[in-house]
Amino acid sequence: MHYVIIGNSIAATAAIEGIRSQDRQGKITVISEEKDHVYGRPLISYWLEKKVSEQQMPYRDPEFYQEQNVEVLLGVKATSVSFDKKTVKLSNKKELTYDKLLISTGGKPIVPPIPGLTAKNHSCFYNYEDVRQLNQTVQPGQHVLVLGGGLTGLKAAESLHRLGVKVSLIELADRLLGTIMDHDGSEMVASFIKSQGVDLYLGNTITQINSAKNGLSQFILKDGTTLEAKLLIMAIGVTPRTDFLKDSNLTINRGILASATQATNFPDVYVAGDVAEVPDLLTGKTVVAPILPNAFTQGRIAGINMTGGTASFEGSLAYNAIGFLGMHTVSMGQSTLETSNEYEVLKQLDQTKQTYRKIVLQNNRLIGALFIGEIGRAGLYQDLIRNQVDVSSFKDQLLANDFKLLNLPSTVYQSKLAE
């Protein structure tokens, strides 16, 4: 049995562990475009601000591939796949034959065509190599622009700010973190970040880049503002990395369509992680939900099923826990919704303490939550969403900052204690 895995990030690692939990013998080959041992992508901002060392970057022990009996082809790219012949062509001109294939190629950063944009005046903030380059090119005291006020943009801004770099963050929407926060939450994060010394340009974008003196560039914004800076960090999002499959008959919508078993429309071909399109837990609609826990869970399920197992993905529930310059935030599910005929929203906002707790309900069931400042035991809410528990009998307890298992109906907490 030959298992071939394209990609070498979290989904691939979980798939290796999934395969090896069932099959110690089969051959596993991993094709890795990057030259590094597997690392958690979100760690790059921590590495840049020197909170994580080079030795701490690997996601698994240095002996991982050896212990799992995996051959890793580092610095090698898959250039095409023949699903009929069951072969993968590689950038080193070789060809691999697979019995079972996993596509876990992740995403690739979106780079919009801004006039004047060159390889020298911008960088993405996606992989280890990006931050290694940034570490070389950017010095404390310099000015750097970040385009995109999502999670990646904010983590990039945080790490550069902590390095002593002057950061200006530009976001096209009128608020930060628009996909996971409502106005109140965005406003709390924005005012905190500004108070820490990061400049924000909301409802704005970059329309033109010109070269300037001393190796700097001049960035012209939509509202006419002109900023001089060393570099632009592009952080407006990622898109599934499927280019090398475009001439195949694989079903690709936004991402490669996955069944609940992580199978694709071709036999023996599986997909997992940021490249996959999977059902949403609550709506059932298929979504690309590029968050790390999804990549791990899907990868493990794919791995088990590649050995003939019967694991299945319960659906994507997006959740994030992110700190920005010391302010902790948690979002899960439909966290941006406001009260309407369909939704009931409970809120508790304290400007002085900079805390915010928000619950979104539909038919007395949780479908989303948002927390800033106080995040302890947030997992209890995630479980209420996942299991669609009727909260009628304890709704008045939901916003309490000491919300606990004992607030749940006794049958529920007793069965949880017995797990």
Partner: protein, 147 residues
């Protein structure tokens, strides 16, 4: 695998499980020194809940497919393939706290150092300290089928 099971009927909300949990994870292994010299006061990995008149201890269930492990961005959160114990290698934890959001029991907490704090079943001891020191037998170390 053997896990810690708690019985609200026998719990008197004394919090001794937390005290001995702190001591068991200290350098000195001594309650007084752990609290007064090592500054470990708020580092218990077991939670005592109360909604009068009920109280009970809550800690990690060491799940078969742990969501905290799936959610960890650094690889610090692990499930030992031999013992099944889910533990956090704090030297690798960056304090993102995604595991706190992932845990369906709310059993992973933000520690005072900003890192994930959770039960490791006292993996270097024959019996977890909370079990050994519960005065009422409200906390027991059992195989699930022994319950």
């Amino acid at each position: 695998m053997k896990k810690v099971y708690t019985n609200p009927k026998h719990c008197v909300n004394c919090h001794l499980c937390k005290v001995y949990c702190v001591a068991a994870h200290s350098s000195s292994k001594d309650v007084l020194k752990a609290y007064k010299e090592e500054g470990l006061k708020d580092t218990a990995r077991i939670i005592v809940e109360e909604t009068k008149p009920i109280s009970c201890a809550v800690q990690c269930r060491h799940c078969d497919e742990p969501k905290c492990v799936a959610s960890c961005i650094s690889g610090a959160m692990r499930k030992d393939p031999t013992t099944g114990i889910v533990y956090c290698d704090t030297s690798r934890c960056v304090g993102c706290l995604t595991c706190v959001v992932a845990c369906s029991h709310g059993a992973v907490q933000p520690g005072p150092d900003g890192k994930a704090l959770k039960c490791d079943l006292c993996r270097n001891l024959s019996e977890p300290a909370c079990v050994a020191n519960c005065p009422n037998g409200a906390i027991a170390f059992l195989e699930k089928e022994e319950k």
